[in-house]
Subunit: 427 residues, 2 copies
């Protein structure tokens, strides 16, 4: 059995972006991607709301997304690859306190962030929404706040994650990369650097390394192993006692058809973007959001709940009816009465791989194992940068060059010399 | 069903120390301790090597242990409580490189650390050990290093963990605290601060809190819930999506009878301490250690293996024969030929609750839940301080007063404003 130069576990968007950049930098290396599913991007990549924004409070998040999104723009516009890229913008509907915080964050960024502020009455008129809950006891009981302003960010939008995955997969294959689907990794293989032939090796007095993977289709050996398996990363690492600070949390999306005149009108809200649709819209705390699909005539509504939502790894997480009915709907309908009595036509659930240190990705190497994950729900919008950084780590480079010739210090996303700020603009 | 002021989950040494100090500070509060086992300190407290040292590189670890140990000395000496406290000292056997590191750490501490350095030939003579492996191919293959020096720390020793647990349990009961054994916590109870009577509460737009515990003997409600359940903490917290950075790792101890003249002589090594026995001795990397029981005529040998030892929660972890035979024994016998052909008469295994951030305890409050854990294998020697700090947190105090009137900032061990150095002197 021949040894690969590198085996990459996970054919989601992060795994394939990593594979592509490793192969591109090292054309002669034998690079193999494996995935337990039968095609690319079928696990949590497929469950993404696949929206993107280039506005974050932390410099790291900003660079990772901005350069990735610029690359997607390049593919879509310059190379005429149809990625379904729509610059619909993000609209934050903010209560008074959050507005103050947001403005102070925007000012502190010290970059040329383009944004526009909408007044409460303007929003009410443009979106036919309620912004003031005066005398609404129910809204008060629910702790819902009046919308004081809207902050619109034009450099943001939506993308078709599947097309993007296909781009990385095809580009990787075209360079001679190999992919095997339907291969499930049971565990990471650990061997001593210098085997002595003793039963039960390695013993603790031996230096040992990750030498590949044991799968349901046999052992695959590799000089380097890359773990890009999203929420499944920690399970495999726990078995070796390696901490990566990635924990899975269920996230749910509910599909609501714009099948009434009011909802059609809301979906096709004018004046925000040149697509002529409502932006990706985030309601005031607790931050329920709406993701429009102008072509398909639907909205997705979601909410990333924290306490007491469990950290729990599930193979097939299911959406919860009550999460919409008593949760999202109750909030949504207060601001947007257009949704009154509308029920979801479908729903789905996936898992975020949350980095519990700071919500930023982790990219580190230990014992010939490279870990790329913890994108914390924004993997699609960071996939290109993360792949480039992981490939730089594979090549032992101190800096990765991101799209647009931006340099990024690889160790900043590592664990030993990690240098990232905690993100304040979490949705 | 009446509500407790506080329910404390876990009657190990940390839980009972916490319970005692909470009750002591708040005599009128109804304080209940519950544990799934049928007596105090029966889980991992009972599996401890129950040695202590007041030498750590980090200020935090130093303060936590030094003040705890001073309190134990006070109990043992001033109050004539028999805690089996023996000041046998710690002896680090160091290779050249580690010795240099250690000296630089000792110098950097800037405290009056009392220690003594032994030369290699002195150690060979006093302990009848091998310090030089010249021409020993096997030792070289194993990567074992010559002993260049020994560093002896007198302010260190062993204690009987069970007696200490009993002290906290009895003192707590004497103050009117309640304990229920054989009560297993199934989950933490979450309720909204302001219940509305909607099915399936709490919803995400409600502020909610931990309101007690659901056990196999029924629900126990409390104003505050303290989770001091050692390695079981993360399981309960994961269910609520709260991160505590505590992961379980199996640790094994092997009991070797001093039943040969050579081993008897080794056990009764003179000149290190006034007990007249070999100190708690740590061999050069990979840091196999020996813990002597002079009264019982036995040694315990152990090793805290890292990679690839799994993070794994087990109800009944078992020692592994090969871990001794091919692991500890192979290293031990090279330095101490006295152990030649000796096999363990018994062995046991427990779990460390390792804080994967920095190896220091975590003590924080969130949503009326106080978490006390992550002692990372040194819970016995930090139990008194940890209990005092947790009690200060319960009382909303900024500083805890440790034994010896030392002030400790409570938030230093929290998660939000955590301020601890990474420990360099890990065994």
């Amino acid at each position: 059995m021949s040894e690969y130069d590198v085996v990459i576990v996970g054919a989601g968007i992060i795994g394939l972006s990593t594979a592509y950049y490793i192969k591109k930098k090292n054309p002669k290396d034998r690079v193999l991607v494996i995935d337990k599913l039968n095609a690319a991007g079928q696990a949590n990549t497929a469950k993404s709301a696949s929206a993107f924004r280039c506005l974050f409070s932390s410099q790291t998040n900003y660079i990772l997304t901005d350069s990735s999104v610029e690359f997607y723009r390049h593919l879509n516009d310059d190379l005429s690859l149809d990625l379904g890229l729509l610059w619909i913008g993000y609209l934050w509907l903010l209560d008074e306190e959050s507005y103050k915080e947001s403005v102070s964050i925007l000012k502190s960024l010290g970059r040329n962030i383009s944004y526009r502020v909408y007044e409460s009455d303007e929003l009410a008129e443009k979106l036919h929404m309620r912004t003031i809950f005066k005398n609404d006891e129910e809204a008060e009981l629910m702790g819902l706040k009046d919308v004081c302003k809207g902050v619109f960010i034009p450099k943001a939008g939506v993308i078709d994650a599947d097309s993007l995955v296909n781009f990385y997969e095809e580009s990787f294959l075209r360079l001679g990369g190999e992919i095997r689907y339907g291969v499930n990794v049971e565990k990471l293989l650990v061997e001593p650097y210098e085997p002595l032939g003793i039963p039960g090796e390695p013993y603790f007095w031996q230096d040992s390394r990750v030498a590949g993977v044991k799968t349901d289709k046999g052992v695959i050996k590799a000089k380097k192993t890359v773990l890009a398996a999203g929420v499944w990363i920690s399970q495999l690492l726990d078995a070796l006692g390696v901490e990566c600070y990635i924990k899975p949390k269920k996230r749910q999306l509910f599909v609501i058809n714009a099948d009434t005149p009011d909802l059609k009108k809301l979906l096709a809200s004018k004046g925000f973007n040149n697509v002529g649709c409502i932006p990706f819209t985030i309601l005031p705390k607790p931050d329920v959001y709406i993701r429009p699909f102008p072509d398909q005539g639907v909205f997705w509504a979601g909410y990333a709940d924290e306490f007491p939502r469990a950290f729990k790894l599930e193979e097939n997480p299911q959406p919860e009816k009550n999460f919409y009915q008593y949760g999202i709907y109750q909030v949504l309908v207060k601001y947007f009465p257009q949704f009154k009595d509308r029920r979801p036509s479908s729903a789905f659930a996936g898992l975020y791989g949350i980095n519990t240190l700071d919500g930023q990705p982790v990219i580190f190497e230990e014992k010939d194992l490279i870990v790329v994950g913890g994108a914390s729900g924004s993997g699609v919008m960071k996939a290109d940068s993360m792949g480039r950084i992981a490939a730089a780590l594979y090549n032992g480079e101190e800096y990765a060059v991101l799209y647009g010739d931006k340099k990024f210090k690889v160790s900043d996303l590592g664990l030993k010399n990690r240098r990232v700020e905690r993100e304040k603009l979490i949705i």
